[in-house]
Amino acid sequence: MKKTIRLNVNGEEWDVDVEPSDTLLEVLRGKIGIKSPKVGCERGDCGSCTVLLDGKSVRSCLVLAIEADGRGIITVEGLSKDGPNELQRAFIEHNAFQCGFCAPGVVLAVSELLAKRPHPSRDDVKEAISGNLCRCTGYEPIIDAVIDLTAKGEE
C-alpha cells in the first residue's frame, strides 16, 4: 500500500509515493533522479549503493525508503554542488578511482570517517572503506589520498 514520504536529499525536500518494500536505492535513482548510488549487487555485499543517512553511511539497497521518511540523505552530488570538495579533489589528484563505479560509495564512507576522526591512521581508513569493494585500484591510492589530505591539515 503506497505511502507518501518526505526525504531530504542533499538539502532539498522531496515528497514521494512509495511501497513499503521499495528500497531507498530504488527511490533515489528511480523517483528522485539521483544516479550516483549504484546498483552493484542488491544484496548489501559491495557498497556501491552507499549513501549517508542522517550522517551515517548505510547500504541504501538494504534500507527501505519508508524507513528514511523525514530523514536527511547525502550523496556525492550534494558534496560537489560547487565543484568537487576538498576530499574529492584529493581523490582526483591521487588517481584514487579508475572505472569509478565504487567511487561515490567510497567518498561517502570516507566523509563519515573524517567527520568523526579528522586525522585518521591508514588502518582507520582501511576499516572505514572495508565495506566498499573495489576491483580496479587495489585500494592503495584511495588510502594515500586520504592520508595525504589529512596529514596536510595537521601541519
Binding site: E19, S21, T23, E42, G44, S57, L62, L64, A109
Partner: protein
C-alpha cells in the same frame, strides 16, 4: 535466481513502543515481520523469500537502543542492552568496552561499517545464526533475553537465558507475536579480561567460519568459553571450562593446560561442511582460536 519484490506490497506500521509493536504482530497472526536494521530482512524481501503482509517498523521506537549499567542489581551490577542497539553502538560504547570487552570486540568484527551502523543486536539474536558474532559473545557473558509480547514484557523473572533462547540454526523460541525486549547480563568482575577471536575468509565482510568468545575471571579462577559457527547454535564449551577451573589454581603449567582446554573446546564443537569451510578445519580452528584466546586473556600475550 533472483525474485523481485513487486508482489510484496505490505502495510507499514510504525509503533512508538515495543509493546505496541508486539500487539501488531499478534493481530497479524503470523503474516507480519518486524524490521529493525533490515540487513537480513531486506535481502529476503527483495528475493521474495519472505512476503509479509505487514512490516512492523522498529526504527521509531525510543529508548530501546541504549546501554545501561545498573550497579545495584545482580552480584556486582548488571548490564542492560536495548534490543535496538546497533553493532556500531556496542562496538564503541564506553560501558561495553570497559565491562564487556568481548561484546565490543565481537560487534566490531561484524561485516563492515555500513552493516554495523544499521544491524541491531536484537535483530541478530532473532535471526539466530550460529555465526552471529554478538550472540557468541552474549553467550559467554551468560546473557538472558527479555521477551516482549503483546500482553507483557517478561522482566527479570521471565528472562530467557540465551542458551535456552536459541534452538537451532535460524531458530529461537521467539513466537510470531513476540519481540526481543532487551538483553541483560551480570557484569563480569572488574579484574575480568575478555576477548573475541574470529576466523573468516577475509579481514572484513566475513561471516565467521569459527569463533571463540572467552572471559577470564582471575579471582574466581574460571574461564567462560563460547564457540561460534561450529554447532547448530553458538555453544558453551562446558567441559573445557570445567577442565580449566579444576586445574588453573592447581599450578598446572599454562601451556599444557591451555592445550588441553583448547582440545576440549574443539571436542565440544559439532561443525558441518559448507561452502565456506569443512568440519575438520572448523574443529582445528576452534582449538587454535581457543588457544589464542587463553594466551591473550590469561597470560596477556599479544
Amino acid at each position: 535466481m533472483d525474485r523481485p519484490a513487486s508482489a510484496c506490497a505490505p502495510r507499514w506500521e510504525s509503533p512508538a513502543t515495543l509493546a505496541e509493536a508486539a500487539e501488531i504482530l499478534r493481530d497479524a497472526a503470523g503474516s507480519a515481520r518486524a524490521i529493525a536494521g533490515g540487513t537480513d530482512l531486506a535481502v529476503r524481501i527483495r528475493r521474495a523469500e519472505e512476503r509479509p503482509d505487514v512490516l512492523v517498523d522498529l526504527g521509531r521506537i525510543e529508548n530501546s537502543d541504549g546501554v545501561e549499567l545498573r550497579p545495584e542489581a545482580g552480584a556486582i551490577g548488571r548490564m542492560e542492552i536495548g534490543a535496538l542497539a546497533t553493532h556500531a553502538t556496542l562496538a564503541e560504547h564506553p560501558l561495553v568496552r570497559e565491562h564487556a570487552n568481548v561484546l565490543a570486540e565481537a560487534c566490531r568484527t561484524v561485516g563492515a561499517p555500513q552493516v554495523r551502523s544499521r544491524g541491531t543486536i536484537g535483530g541478530n539474536l532473532a535471526n539466530a545464526s550460529p555465526a552471529a558474532d554478538g550472540v557468541v559473545a552474549l553467550l559467554a557473558l551468560d546473557a538472558a533475553v527479555w521477551v516482549q509480547s503483546a500482553s507483557s514484557c517478561a522482566g527479570d523473572a521471565g528472562a530467557v537465558p540465551i542458551v535456552d533462547f536459541l534452538t537451532g540454526p535460524g531458530e529461537s523460541v521467539l513466537r510470531d507475536d513476540e519481540l526481543i525486549g532487551g538483553i541483560v547480563f551480570d557484569r563480569p568482575s572488574p579484574a575480568a579480561r575478555s576477548v573475541y577471536v574470529k576466523a573468516g575468509q577475509r579481514n572484513a565482510l566475513a561471516i565467521a567460519i569459527a569463533s571463540v568468545a572467552a572471559i577470564f575471571e582471575p579471582d574466581a579462577g574460571i574461564v567462560r568459553i563460547a564457540l561460534g559457527s561450529v554447532a547448530p547454535t553458538p555453544v558453551r564449551a562446558g567441559d573445557a571450562e570445567a577442565l580449566f577451573e579444576s586445574d588453573w589454581r592447581g599450578g598446572a603449567d599454562p601451556e599444557t593446560l591451555f592445550d588441553a582446554v583448547a582440545a576440549a573446546a574443539a571436542a565440544a564443537s559439532s561443525p558441518i561442511d559448507d561452502v565456506r569451510a569443512t568440519a575438520r578445519y572448523r574443529r582445528i580452528l576452534t582449538e587454535a582460536l581457543t588457544r589464542s584466546a587463553l594466551d591473550r586473556i590469561c597470560l596477556r600475550k599479544a
